[in-house]
Structure formats: structure tokens, C-alpha cells
């Protein structure tokens, strides 16, 4: 009898120890992503100010660092107006449909190698899914429902136009986004994001001594450019922010939204940006991999910790790129957007897939 209880409690402890790291990773991931989202809004405002020779928000806290907090408090305490002419159910569901997929997307992204803790190996990734990239694309595709629903439920011509544009744009660029990674998938031979990063930690040796990491940017330069263009369009950022074109559509799909509901659209957009930046890093810039660190002779855990930092830094670079481009380029016209997608990026992505397949066939053919 006693032995049975012992085994059961042992199993229980095992279960706890198995679940605990996952829970911690989930909470930390959630916290980090939401905080980054908040501070991304501040970064956006600060950097745009610097690019336009202004100072930017500097009133709340030192250098305006508490601004996101003040914004959050303001959003929460604003009156939550639901206009009379809207379709209530969809109107209220839309912001959630925008935010939830955005928050689901990043769980499959590996943010570091594994660490050894108390004899257990903990992978630094919330969910190690074999079809990671498909998962992200599928979840990302869901966010179009939020945009379109918001535009439709608002019962307002500007919102409707914004919603229409959003759906057309997202559908077109989802296609090119998916197609532009097919080349990379062919090269890596897996859809598991962790395996993809591990694949990129290998080296080519050039001229006898120079080692170049297998990063996706070297394997798929065209794929990278196409992916980046589609990523901008997919996250509704300038120069592709037609769904919310302020100067012609007031606010686009979120014209009728205020207080926290508006904030949710906002957070959805920024979280989507984080996910897509992290995905770009994972696919084309070696994820957590720091080149040549293997020769430094550090222990595995230290390398993993440094890797997490490297991953964050690389992602931050892409977030900066998003902001930088936004404050540089004017918005596309709608027909230009569509012709860029269907006549520019789409054929180029097809060509990329074809070329990659041909190269792989020639290179890997048994001699």
C-alpha cells in the first residue's frame, strides 16, 4: 500500500516538474511579449521623433520611459463607447479576434537552445511543434477575420472600405508569405522551427579557414527579400497600411473603436510585428545562433543564455527596421499594392521555389 502511494506521489512530482518549466516559459513569454509590445509603441514614437528632428514623448518618467504605462491607464479608464449603429456581437468580438491570434503566434518560435537544469533538459521554446511554420501561417491567417469583422460590424463606409482592403491585402500577401518560405523549407528539409535553427548552426569553410554559418540569408537571399516584403504587408505596416490609411479612411477598420478595444487592435498589430520579426530571425538569421561561439569554450548553459540574448537582439533589429521603414516610405496606392503582390512578388516567389528545387536536385543527385 505504502509503496503504491510512494509511486503515485513520485509520478505526481514528475508531472509537476514536467509542467512547471512549461508554465514558467508560458508566463515569461507572455510577459515579455506584452511588455515589448507596450515599449514598442514608445520606441515607435521616440524613433519617429528622432527621424523627424523632434524629441518625442519625454514627460512621463525619465526620458518618457513610463509613457506606455500612462497610455495603458488612459486606455483602461476611457469610457467604452459602443455606437448604436453597429452590430454588437461582431463589434465586440473583432478586437479579441485580432489580439488572440497575435498572442498565439509566437509560442512555436524557439528563442534559445536548451539548458540543463537539475538534470533535466529544458528547451527554450514554449511548444516544439513539428509543423511550426504552418502553425504560424495558419494563426496569422486568422487575424484577417478580426480586421474584416471590425470593418463590417462598424457599419460605417470608411470602416467597411478598410475591412475590404484588409481582407484583399492579407489574402494576397499570405500567399506570397507562404510561398517565399517554401524555398527555405526545401533547403532545410523540415518545417520544425527548432530543426531549422539547428540546421543554420553549421558552417561552410571558405578558403580553407574562414567559416561562414549556414544562415538562411546566404541560402535564400531572394526568398528573404520576398519574405520581408510580404511580412510588412501581412502586419499592415507602412508602406502597406492601406486598411487604416488615415488620410483617406479616417482610421480604416478601427474608426469606430475607442478605449481598450482600440488598444487591442493596436496591441494585435505590434504583437504581430514581434512574431514576424522573430520568424524572420529564425528563418534567415540563424535564430539564437551566435556565429563562431562554439570556439569560445563556454559551457552549454552559458552559450544558451547568450543565445537568448542574441535572439532578442536580432529580433530588436528587425523591429527597428519595421519602424525605420514606416517613417521613411509613403503609402502605396491600392492598385500598386495589388500589382506588386500578383505581378511582382508572387512570380518572383514561384521562380525562387523553382530555382531552389532545381539547384537542390542538381546538387543532391546521387553521382
Amino acid at each position: 500500500m505504502e509503496g503504491g502511494v510512494g509511486i503515485e506521489s513520485h509520478l505526481f512530482m514528475d508531472l509537476i516538474l514536467d509542467l512547471l518549466p512549461i508554465l514558467v516559459k508560458m508566463l515569461v513569454g507572455f510577459f515579455v511579449v506584452l511588455t515589448t509590445t507596450a515599449y514598442l509603441t514608445l520606441a515607435e514614437r521616440k524613433f519617429s521623433a528622432y527621424m523627424q528632428d523632434r524629441i518625442g514623448p519625454n514627460r512621463v518618467g525619465p526620458f518618457g520611459l513610463l509613457q506606455p504605462l500612462a497610455d495603458g491607464v488612459k486606455f483602461i479608464f476611457k469610457e467604452d463607447v459602443v455606437p448604436n449603429h453597429v452590430h454588437k456581437v461582431f463589434y465586440i468580438a473583432a478586437p479579441a479576434l485580432m489580439l488572440v491570434p497575435a498572442l498565439l503566434g509566437y509560442v512555436v518560435i524557439p528563442f534559445g537552445d536548451s539548458i540543463e537544469l537539475f538534470g533535466r533538459t529544458i528547451t527554450l521554446q514554449i511548444a516544439d511543434v513539428d509543423i511550426g511554420i504552418l502553425y504560424i501561417l495558419a494563426i496569422g491567417g486568422l487575424s484577417v477575420y478580426g480586421l474584416f469583422m471590425a470593418g463590417w460590424a462598424s457599419n460605417n463606409k470608411y470602416s467597411l472600405l478598410g475591412g475590404l482592403r484588409a481582407s484583399a491585402q492579407m489574402v494576397s500577401y499570405e500567399l506570397t508569405l507562404g510561398l517565399s518560405v517554401v524555398g527555405a523549407l526545401l533547403v532545410y528539409g523540415t518545417a520544425n522551427l527548432r530543426q531549422i535553427v539547428l540546421h543554420q548552426t553549421e558552417y561552410w569553410t571558405l578558403f580553407g579557414s574562414i567559416q561562414v554559418p549556414h544562415w538562411g540569408i546566404f541560402l535564400q537571399p531572394l526568398g528573404f527579400v520576398l519574405f520581408l516584403i510580404s511580412a510588412f504587408a501581412e502586419s499592415n505596416r507602412l508602406p502597406f497600411d492601406l486598411p487604416e490609411a488615415e488620410n483617406e479612411l479616417v482610421g480604416g477598420y478601427h474608426t469606430e473603436y475607442g478605449s481598450m478595444k482600440f488598444a487591442m487592435f493596436f496591441m494585435g498589430e505590434y504583437t504581430g510585428m514581434i512574431t514576424i520579426s522573430a520568424l524572420t530571425v529564425t528563418f534567415f538569421f540563424g535564430g539564437w545562433h551566435i556565429p563562431w561561439i562554439e570556439h569560445a569554450g563556454l559551457t552549454h548553459n552559458v552559450v544558451a543564455a547568450l543565445g537568448v540574448l542574441a535572439f532578442l537582439a536580432k529580433t530588436a533589429c528587425f523591429l527597428f527596421l519595421f519602424i525605420w521603414v514606416r517613417w521613411t516610405l509613403p503609402r502605396f496606392r491600392y492598385d500598386q499594392l495589388m500589382s506588386l503582390s500578383w505581378k511582382g512578388v508572387f512570380p518572383a516567389a514561384l521562380l525562387n521555389v523553382f530555382g531552389t528545387a532545381l539547384c537542390l536536385y542538381v546538387l543532391r543527385r546521387p553521382m
Binding site: D53, R54, W324
Partner: protein, 171 residues
């Protein structure tokens, strides 16, 4: 009208090199960090010397106003915001002086015509423009307040240097 499309070279048509050039421009500004912002409540933007702000009634050396209640400013004012009551000062040298002199700055358009019309250099628009208040009465400036408004110009410039009839300056 015939709109001719500009002839683009191949690199311009590809768009990406041009994007990179644009990005370089914003990056230059980003790194230069030369801000044009005036952090206003702490540091006001300097106004030009002829800025037309709040009015003042220029003083005589004795501290009394120079105004002789000729009502030229009142006549010139396009917004009709000056009102005055003239009276006899019981002084053989001075004919008239304003018993009451009021400017309703809520109506004033700060055109400066009053200043131009005045033959005695008795009224002037100071560079002061911070006049916020939540009560309407605060915007109606009576004579005493118009004289107090001399505080908005530097000490040495409060008394007019315009030469006028010595007799009338004695008062």
C-alpha cells in the same frame, strides 16, 4: 492637360535601391539628433522684436499713462474692442486724460492698428502672449492692468523715448 510620366531608369523601376536611399536619409536624421523642438513651458521660443502680443499703456516718468484720450486708437480698432471714458484732469497743461480705458482682448485681433494710430506713442503691443485663464473677466484689461503690463517689457524700455511736447510730459 497632358500628364507625362517621368522616364524612370531601371534602378528606379526596381524601387528597392531607391528605398535604400530613402532609408539612408532618415537614418542620417536619426543619428544626427539635432532637434528643432522647443520644450515650451520650460523654454519658450524667442519671439521677433515686432511680435504683437498683449497691450500695454506706456508710462510717463511719473508712472502715469501717456495717453491723452484722443480716441484715435478706438477709432482705428477694426474689432471695436477699445472703450474709454475721457475726462478733464483739472490741469491747465493737460486737456484730457482717460478716466477709464479698457481693452477686451477676447475681441482683439492683435492687428496693432491702435499702436499705429496713436499720436503720443502711448499704447504698444508687448511680446507677451501667455494669457490663459478660465474666467472671461480676466481678458478685459482695465487701465490699471494695462499699466501693469509694462512688466512684460524690459526695465529700460518701459518709458517711451519718443520726444513729445515737454509741457504735457510734466504731468
Amino acid at each position: 492637360m497632358i500628364v507625362r510620366k517621368p522616364q524612370l531608369s531601371l534602378t528606379q523601376k526596381l524601387y528597392l535601391p531607391e528605398i535604400l536611399r530613402g532609408l539612408m536619409i532618415t537614418m542620417r536624421h536619426f543619428l544626427r539628433r539635432k532637434s528643432v523642438t522647443y520644450e515650451y513651458p520650460e523654454k519658450a521660443k524667442p519671439v521677433p522684436a515686432n511680435f504683437r502680443g498683449l497691450h500695454r499703456l506706456i508710462q510717463r516718468p511719473t508712472g502715469k499713462e501717456r495717453c491723452v484720450a484722443c480716441e484715435l486708437c478706438l477709432t482705428a480698432c477694426p474689432a471695436n474692442c477699445i472703450s474709454m471714458v475721457a475726462t478733464d484732469p483739472n490741469d491747465p497743461n493737460v486737456e484730457k486724460f482717460p478716466l477709464r480705458y479698457e481693452i477686451d482682448t477676447l475681441r482683439c485681433i492683435y492687428c496693432g492698428f491702435c499702436e499705429e494710430a496713436c499720436p503720443c506713442d502711448a499704447i504698444e503691443l508687448t511680446p507677451h502672449y501667455e494669457q490663459a485663464s478660465s474666467r472671461r473677466e480676466d481678458f478685459v484689461h482695465a487701465k490699471s492692468r494695462l499699466l501693469e503690463n509694462n512688466q512684460f517689457v524690459p526695465e529700460g524700455e518701459r518709458i517711451s523715448r519718443v520726444k513729445t511736447n515737454e509741457t504735457y510730459l510734466r504731468v
